[in-house]
């Protein structure tokens, strides 16, 4: 699927601060025209969201985190071992508390990269170096993730 800004005749670009409701049932993806900066949101229904979650790709581009072993199984099994839920945080500028790591690890892998970037962007704007559960609650409240 591709999006075109009709007035500019330019391809719209996926924005990595797309939003994902906590219950992970409906993806909202933002696209922006690089010429006029007009932004639109693609809102998917439950079936479309489920389909994307099962083909093993990441929206907003592949990340080292999301492409890890057993990504789909780890994030989609209702009852899985804890080891499956762990995720490696590679952004050395920020320290993630254990609770924050577990929480970001629970975000479905196909939008985890976007979620991580959203949290980091939020922390960077506020000059915060340690990402904890409280900060993630704030992000959720502000951007709906």
């Amino acid at each position: 699927m591709k999006f075109l800004c009709v007035p500019c005749d330019e391809q719209m670009q996926t924005q990595t601060d797309g939003i994902m409701p906590a219950e992970a049932k409906n993806i909202s993806l933002k696209f922006k025209c690089p010429k006029c900066n007009h932004t639109i949101a693609m809102l998917t229904n439950q079936f479309e969201t489920e389909f994307v979650s099962k083909i093993g790709v990441e929206l907003g581009g592949q990340s080292a985190v999301g492409s890890g072993p057993l990504s789909m199984v780890g994030s989609q099994l209702a009852q899985g071992k804890e080891e499956l839920k762990q995720t490696v945080m590679k952004d050395e500028d920020f320290e993630w508390t254990e609770e924050a790591k577990v929480r970001i690890g629970r975000v479905p892998f196909f939008v985890r990269n976007m979620a991580k970037k959203t949290v980091i962007g939020f922390a960077r704007e506020r000059g915060i170096k340690v990402i904890d559960a409280k900060l993630m609650d704030e992000v959720r409240e502000k951007v709906g993730m």
Partner: protein, 298 residues
């Protein structure tokens, strides 16, 4: 106005490249495994997993490096058969997940290894209103991940223990185009033969090489005196093989020692290869190896 084909890429997600990358990762994992064989049956309960585990033991006994992929996602049993409990801690790093290692050094990967308790089911959602529409897609992706993300290392043989039925073979063929072939397993009962004949027909039509048909529980072996007796009434399975024009590659008796040994974590074949049943397993393996010698490109 520009059309779909005028737009390069998909706006940032690069889905095609991700799919290509998955394929490359899978290929680099599979290239280290010389021969891949699926073991399947039409009907459940014919002893397919026990035969798979004991054939793997026979191959390992001959010095081959062997792995088993438990493709029965909802009824995984290979870990149990190889004597590895589901409480084993998972070791995952950026290179993949370490396989379980069972009796005789046989490596395996199974959904059971990923579940928190022995009685945990494979559930993709715990919501009562969860949709079943995408379960098949989910299972296909799960199978790819189990195959692609397991650190199999160098193997001579990877045996794929399939679930009952013939639907999963489409998935396996897509993932492993170089599959050497399938071993079909049935018991003598008319119902089992009826169902396995559908599996054979499907594989023949799809051009999947059929290594041959194994008759399990062909007779009953007394564990004390090793005398054999008839267990099931039914048509001779050889006739089914002849009518389908596939090789009949083995006749394995029902032997109560198989289940006793596997329950204690020791594979039957390892300690009973000179028994009637052990020799029957070895004879079927001989036929599989002959097929591979004759047909394999590797």
């Amino acid at each position: 106005m520009k059309t779909y084909h005028d737009l390069a890429g998909d706006g940032g997600s690069n889905i095609i490249a991700q799919v290509v990358s998955q394929r490359e990762k899978l290929r680099s994992r599979l290239d280290k495994i010389k021969h891949k064989i699926s073991l399947m049956s039409g009907k459940g309960g014919v002893g397919k997993s026990s035969i798979t585990a004991n054939m793997a033991a026979c191959l390992a006994d001959r010095g081959y490096r062997v792995g088993i992929l438990d493709a029965d996602l909802n009824g995984p049993s290979i870990g149990h058969l190889l004597g590895v409990g589901n409480d084993r801690k998972l070791t995952i790093d950026e290179n993949g997940v370490a396989p379980g290692v069972g009796a005789m050094g046989i490596k395996f990967m199974s959904m059971d290894m990923l579940l928190p308790t022995p009685d945990s089911p494979v559930m993709w959602t715990e919501e009562a209103g969860g949709t079943a529409a995408w379960v098949s897609t989910m299972e296909s992706t799960a199978l790819r991940e189990l195959l692609m993300d397991t650190q199999w290392g160098e193997l001579d043989y990877l045996l794929i223990d399939m679930p009952p039925g013939s639907d999963r073979i489409d998935n396996v063929r897509d993932l492993i185009p170089e599959l050497e072939g399938v071993v079909e397993i049935t018991i003598p009962s008319p119902v089992s033969q009826h169902i396995v004949s559908k599996s054979i027909t499907k594989n023949s039509k799809m051009g999947v090489p059929i290594i041959g048909l194994v008759e399990n529980m062909a007779t009953y072996v007394c564990p004390h005196c090793e005398q054999e007796g008839k267990l099931f009434e039914g048509e001779d399975v050889r006739k089914l093989a002849q009518s389908k024009e596939i090789p009949f590659i083995g006749k394995i008796p029902f032997d109560t020692r198989i289940s006793r040994k596997t329950a204690s974590g020791t594979l039957f074949y390892a300690e009973n290869k000179e028994s009637v049943t052990g020799k029957a397993i070895a004879a079927a393996v001989d036929n599989i190896l002959k097929f591979i010698d004759k047909n394999s490109k590797r």
